[in-house]
Subunit: 417 residues, 2 copies
């Protein structure tokens, strides 16, 4: 039966085009024009609008941190390189639509009553909510599809750090997608629809909901508190700090060898699920808590200082204070861009909250970023008494999709590069 | 050492009083005056403000539904009635502060450097975010503390329904606390701090984060979509519909016998964790999906109608359509107030999202509300092919805390009643 025979308004109109209309209307109300994701001004960082999908770098790294996260690691199921490349193209097309606040399926997907809907529908009528979708490729992907000679040395496997207690079911992955948005329904919808587009070719290995941001990439903004009640990572790289981004985050054409050339403009992501021993922490004295971080709890100021953003005097802190150990001045200038989120996933069967920090950090080279930093922290940080790393993954995050003809990973899969 | 010897500003000032000041400042910015929780106008339902804690009914039932949920069921660990009563008083005091946007511990708790902080701190600086805290007593509580003759008959144990596949670790509980807020950090903070106040006397049995509301108790508002992409429960009881609340939600003094007298002004809560078979649903045709609900997906209108809130013509729907089976006209007028939230808790080990609806419904009598409704739905609903109930609990939700001297459960534990 065709649409006219079904009576009432066309479902396709309602779901496909009507939905897009609703969403675009909301986008206009929420800010209208797409925001640049490379250092938009804080004033334009309000929720509701769309973040530009195209650009030299992927959005979701230097973009002002959105309120909510849904992160998924995928395993590749297909052995057919052409099929996998087609998936990356399909994902790119879907991401282009969803980040603009449109449902998946306009054009490329059907919308007949006899077929599954183009889009799962739970984000219809919601604004784009500053959705960004950021794709990464894990080390194991390079064991497939004849990619072995393309794995960048900077995508180093992480060593086992002291105290690691990694759950295999929350570790690794051939691919990842980081969905950040100011509305969690929009982020969850995006991951679900990408999983659906990839059905049979990829499968979700693990996923993580982050309910609250713990970092800021907006200059001078207050750092959101983590579940320990502290502001941490207050001197994060801001999306507007082009020089620091170029120095610490974006892969340069001069980095590495031919293996890494396709990564120019990309970055490397380390994801760690850090469980906090909340109940133990909550019984520690205020003095102990402040000593552990090297900050006061109320304002977030470094020891002996008045304000969060005052430059810390590291020697005033205990030798094992977290801020002192993690500070670039203690680590030959190592600086990473942090984008972590708080999580709580119920209880652990022992009456304790399964809660903590889903740590996400971007850097130009894992060997010169997270690895040396975590070697130092895992060996000495006073915070280790209260946390445990229980999940881990590392990904090469390719450069941005440049225009409507480009797709995620094109440089990696092109023959001439 | 006393506070002055520690140098710098007093930590107590920063955490205890300074923190309260910050929070109150934010409250003023976010709306200032406490909103009544009994039928505030939609215009006053914006996020940020405080919801009045005191009243004849607990807040969090008729209150316009907040965006986020953290729900916890607790087991009682103490056998000392006086200690448990003290816990209820301490919880009430803490809830009174937190719902006003203040940290726990003003007055009753210390704030010295040598002691753990009064409050865990992660909500310092955040607005009250319309936080409500709603307490309930499970059937198993009445097996303790000599309460057997106070268990209201309306707090009926739920039978095993066809298709139930309940996980014991997500079922039951002596007590529950429903925390709803527009900021998830505020809701998570509240549950955590109540768990902390209750340390040694109660322990979290299970908890559930709800990332997005799926119902509205605001008249004429659009119903938020569930993870199936549909609007469901569109004719929910609004917080302003006093007559419907009195008829279907609030326990009346004429209800039941002497066992139930302490429940006057209270309500009964049924909580069900409903897993959705998302991947199967997403492969169903649009026609099938719309037939299952008895609505169109785009607008949410009942079959043959144009708008979400148009009165449904039930006979136009398939006999097993969800709306048709759940409608009061098919159930001798049974009406429950729904306050459910979407959840996603990662994956299930088989590559499928562990996601669905955390169903919360309030009613005047479980025997005349959820039980007969679910008997019908579990036997006939077309939706059953795509969902599974995996967690369950029922609670007697006592009346509201009337004033600053009252406390949760006072009528239950008072000797004269």
């Amino acid at each position: 039966m065709n649409e006219n025979e079904r009576g009432g308004p066309s479902r396709r109109a309602l779901i496909g085009w009507g939905g897009a209309g609703l969403a675009l209307g909301a986008a206009a109300a929420g800010g209208g024009v797409a925001l640049s994701h490379d250092g938009p001004s804080p004033a334009s960082a309000g929720s509701g609008g769309a973040v530009e999908f195209h650009g030299p770098h992927q959005a979701g790294i230097a973009t002002p941190v959105q309120d909510r996260l849904h992160f998924a690691a995928f395993d590749v199921k297909t052995e057919d390189r052409a099929e996998f490349v087609q998936l990356l193209k399909d994902w790119t097309a879907a991401a282009r639509l969803m980040t603009a606040g449109k449902p998946v399926g306009e054009g490329a997907y059907g919308g007949l009553a006899e077929a599954p809907p183009d889009d799962t529908g739970e984000a219809l009528g919601l604004s784009p909510s500053r959705l960004t979708l950021t794709v990464g490729f894990g080390p194991s992907l390079f064991e497939r599809f004849g990619l072995a000679d393309r794995r960048p040395p900077a995508l180093a496997d992480l060593p086992k750090f002291p105290g690691d207690n990694l759950d295999k079911s929350r570790t690794g992955g051939d691919l990842c997608v980081q969905a950040c948005a100011d509305d969690p329904q929009v982020a969850v919808h995006a991951i679900r629809n990408l999983a659906r587009v990839g059905f049979g070719k990829v499968a979700v290995r693990w996923s993580q909901l982050g309910f609250g941001k713990t970092s800021s990439t907006t200059p001078d903004a207050q750092t959101p508190r983590n579940l320990m009640g502290f502001k941490d990572g207050t001197r994060n790289i801001a999306g507007t700090e082009t020089a620091r981004l170029d120095k610490h985050v974006w892969v340069s054409a001069s980095d590495g060898d031919a293996k890494s050339a396709w990564m120019t403009g990309g970055s490397y992501l380390v994801a760690r699920r850090i469980r906090m021993n909340i109940e133990t922490w909550d019984r520690a004295s205020l003095q102990e808590q402040e000593d552990v971080f090297g900050r006061d709890k109320g304002e977030g100021a470094p020891v002996g200082k008045a304000k969060e953003h005052d430059a810390p005097f590291l020697k005033a802190m205990k030798p094992d204070a977290h801020v002192r150990l993690a500070h670039p001045d203690s680590n030959d200038g190592i600086t990473i861009l942090r984008r972590g989120y708080s999580f709580t996933d119920g209880t652990d069967g022992l009456g304790r909250l399964d809660a903590g920090l889903f740590f996400l950090a971007y850097q130009r080279d894992v060997r010169e970023g997270f690895i040396p930093l975590q070697r130092r922290l895992s060996a000495h940080d006073a915070l280790n008494e209260y946390i445990q790393h229980v999940g881990s993954a590392v990904f090469a995050v390719p450069p941005g999709v440049r225009d409507s003809h480009d797709w995620w990973g094109r440089a990696l899969f092109s023959k001439e590069a």
